[in-house]
Symmetry: C2
Subunit: 172 residues, 2 copies
């Protein structure tokens, strides 16, 4: 499938509601349990998505379109362990919803042209990347973190399902 | 995490809304594309979940609690390719929502005791399984199919993300 700005927005604008429906109102075990040492809980993942809205996607878009220095600031993958501190999941979900809404409004306001979408930034590891690739990655990042959240939750019943574990490769 | 009937219901009752939010109103490419030959699209997966509501979970629960013959009927994993025929995604989402609601109402009406939860059915491959294991598997089945849907969608942008593919193990 080719990149398409509308199809990209279709996914990005749905994510806050999907997270709300998946996670809101659950008992703590579904939200705070992870998959073992150095792994993330659904709560951690929502914090990570918030940090991305603050610093990653729109900041890099800005570097591509407006900055003379096209080098991206490296993304801090552990930032949420400080930033989410003492916030409730409900607070994080609301914060993410607000930030995503504002970012998508900004994105609309830019009226990106095909020319813009081909512009280049410098990724710390990959070197030259296009705005199209950045926006596609934002989308894939949402989707794969939803997949991760549901896998982490499924993992909590790894013992409880008994022999059925055989049918769930993703839990093995 | 130990099995708990309320925590199980918490997940099962959310799935119809999560699917609606993830999939409703998308262009066909997000819904109908799969991951290549002999793989499932999000549309196929919703059909598979519907078939499960009709024949799998509550039927097996009934075998465990009420039937003399405790052997489960094998589950047809390809049934949805006939049953979903010509239905719109919106029809399938509504159908799933209704069926899940009815099944959860039935489940509540049973007022399952600890004694019930330890009762046994005969799985075609695994032999003896408990009602607890069946209900846990229903939950894990929902969660892993949501994970699968988002992975299939993410895969549609596998090319579009360019070098970022390196960070998404699940797409490789």
């Amino acid at each position: 499938m080719e990149f398409d700005l509308n199809k990209t927005r279709q996914v990005l604008e749905r994510t806050p509601r999907v997270l709300e429906d998946l996670l809101s109102g659950h008992t703590d075990e579904w939200i705070m349990n992870n998959e073992g040492e150095d792994t993330w809980s659904p709560y951690d993942i929502v914090g990570h998505l918030i940090h991305g809205e603050h610093t990653d996607w729109m900041g890099r878009l800005d570097s591509i379109l407006n900055k003379e220095d096209k080098r991206f600031v490296p993304f801090d993958r552990d930032a949420m362990f400080k930033e989410s501190d003492r916030k409730s999941l409900q607070q994080l979900l609301s914060e993410f919803k607000e930030l995503r809404k504002k970012n998508l409004q900004k994105l609309s306001g830019l009226n990106l042209t095909d020319d813009d979408l081909n512009k280049i930034g410098i990724h710390p590891e990959f070197g030259e990347v296009t705005l199209t690739q950045l926006l596609s990655t934002w989308t894939v990042h949402d989707l794969t973190h939803i997949a991760q959240i549901t896998r982490v939750m499924a993992n909590q019943y790894k013992q409880a399902i008994g022999p059925w574990i055989k049918y769930f490769r993703v839990l093995q």
